[in-house]
């Protein structure tokens, strides 16, 4: 009883904290030279003060953050039309805009709003999009990300991922009293919420395919266990607490199983598959080396994983049917680990060692297996693909602090997400 009371008090405290949690700021560290110029005109809102929300700014920040767009500065807008009919295309063309977005917010009463927007091609005056989204006040942020998603997809032909979420671990405090938090935030780092807090390590958050649950490792009681937490209610279930290691959860594509790393009594780490409904365990690998960091293929028929069976860590693939022999995929360099598969399975992202530093690399899975090292840091780890495959979020260090960073899957655009406090680790991008 006592224990429950003190926990509830702590939870109340955390809820308070989560509101004052420092937000992330995005810095674009390497842009794309051929970014597309676009003007997002401030949306008219008759009751702007009531909404007090700048849709156009958020859309413009999203598009600029992708590195693929250059948003025209408001100071350079000589007029601010709110409908297609009011656009003087020649003027916008003279300002070198290829595209323009105009729109309005209309209050519907009872704290609901309609966002109406149109996207035009400035050069041929063609209307490319015209949509209306309704939202309540807290939903305006999400609605604005959806506007950005639609514009992004219409122009580039790639589904936007601005209206998605990320999870990550934040570590606060100094030794020996560390405070580990599992945080879920919008993809731009805004709206962070603490979903789990502990004074023992939290690790390896993994999104269920439906985006409703997070699996993670928690060392509460100073032993590792794998939990699955339902985000809507905070309810969670301990799904693996075997003797020894319980690590690296990865959801099967149908959301019914978890691949895990477990150990035998003498400490041999291998990959297992846990059926969440029946608790049945199937051993996938059996090798005296360290086998860990599993990741499923989309068809659920194979697992990519790290193994040091040949000396240093390298990436392998093995079928989930029993008796399949793992096949080694990486051969360049002495350290290649923690594979993540791009959503279209055209490439693998992983951590490689280069010039003494740990960096994010990709390997082409369709052609000749070309490897490209995308980052230049010394401690770049934990890559995770955006659900549209356009970007990879990863953990890096900046002046001795753990930060999150983004790199486009082709390496052309790089950004850093800066938080004013905490060591940020292990970002995991949620599915659509």
């Amino acid at each position: 009883m006592n224990r429950r009371t003190s926990c509830l008090v702590a939870i109340g405290f955390m809820l308070f904290c989560s509101r004052t949690w420092a937000e992330l700021v995005v810095e674009i560290t390497k842009g794309q030279a051929d970014a597309i110029p676009i003007a997002i005109v401030p949306f008219s809102s008759p009751e702007a003060a009531a909404a007090s929300f700048d849709v156009a700014k958020l859309v413009s920040d999203d598009l600029a953050r992708s590195g693929r767009f250059r948003a025209t500065d408001r100071k350079d807008m000589i007029e601010q039309p709110h409908t297609g009919a009011a656009i003087s295309f020649d003027d916008w063309r003279r300002l070198n805009n290829d595209y323009i977005v105009v729109g309005q917010i209309q209050p519907l009463g009872q704290d609901r709003y309609n966002i109406t927007f149109e996207l035009y091609n400035v050069l041929n005056r063609q209307r490319l999009l015209g949509y209306q989204i309704s939202a309540n006040k807290p939903g305006l942020r999400l609605a604005s990300h959806q506007v950005a998603d639609m514009v992004f997809e219409k122009i580039l032909g790639i589904r936007g991922a601005f209206a998605t979420r990320i999870a990550y671990i934040s570590v606060l405090g100094s030794l020996p009293h560390k405070d580990y938090r599992l945080i879920v935030a919008d993809a731009d780092g805004e709206n962070p919420r603490v979903v789990m807090q502990s004074n023992e390590p939290l690790m390896s958050p993994a999104w269920s395919p439906d985006g409703q649950n997070l699996a993670y490792v928690s060392f509460e009681n100073r032993l590792p266990s794998v939990y699955v937490q339902f985000l809507k209610t905070g309810e969670r279930r301990r799904v693996s607490a075997q003797a020894g290691v319980n690590q690296a959860p990865a959801w099967s594509p149908d959301g019914k199983k978890l691949a895990l790393t477990l150990s035998t009594r003498d400490g041999n780490l291998d990959i297992y598959v846990l059926d969440l409904a029946t608790q049945a365990l199937t051993r996938i690998t059996d090798d005296p080396g360290i086998d860990t960091e599993p990741q499923w293929s989309k068809d659920g028929q194979s697992l990519y994983f790290t193994s040091d069976r040949a000396g240093g860590p390298q990436i392998y693939r093995v079928g989930t049917q029993s008796g399949d022999k793992p096949r080694r995929l990486t051969f360049q360099g002495s350290y290649n680990a923690r594979p993540r598969l791009s959503p279209d399975e055209s490439q693998l992202s992983f951590v490689t060692q280069e010039d003494g530093g740990y960096r994010i690399a990709t390997m082409d899975l369709r052609g000749r297996g070309d490897v490209q090292v995308l980052t230049k840091g010394h401690f770049d780890v934990s890559p995770s693909y955006a659900p549209n495959g356009a970007e990879i979020i990863y953990a890096s260090r900046d002046r001795g602090r753990g930060v999150l960073a983004l790199v486009s899957a082709d390496g052309r655009v790089q950004e850093r997400l800066v938080s004013s406090e905490g060591e940020l680790q292990e970002p995991a991008w949620a599915p659509f």
Partner: protein
Amino acid sequence: MKRIVAIALLMAGAALLSGCPKKHNVIEQPNAGSQVSGNQGDEGASTSSRGLAGDAGTQGNGMGGDATGPLGRKVIYFDFDKSEIKPEFADLVAAHARNLTGHPNFRMKLEGNTDERGTREYNIGLGERRAQAVRRALMLQGVAESQLNTVSFGAERPAAEGDDETAWAKNRRVELVYGP
């Protein structure tokens, strides 16, 4: 001296009993209801059967202040990417092996750790490998398998902060923790 140790043990026990449970809380999303669950499986509240050995508490966080003998040393350090126990730690291992074989009711947890370099989950594997190296060394000197447990924290529980070899050397370690 015996008396002092006994008092210290009593105090440690009292602290354990009265101390707040460790915080690990599930926090629901602010706009959701307030159902909370979790915190299962914490049997750590019972302290009466805790066998303490040597002259320090149960949390082996480095060298205890005035403890200079091999039994007082409870951390074994490793070279980069290595899990071999260096000769300088032979005394320490032998002393703890004698202590454990002499007290078959004593239990020890071996906590393996790595420095921050590399991927987090692979480091869990390396930390486990180090803990297992110490476990094997103790068993070779007669310690019963049932007295020993291992856990790997990988790079998650550093002993020292910093992105340099000075910190890394302190973090590549196995901590010997007497406990239940």
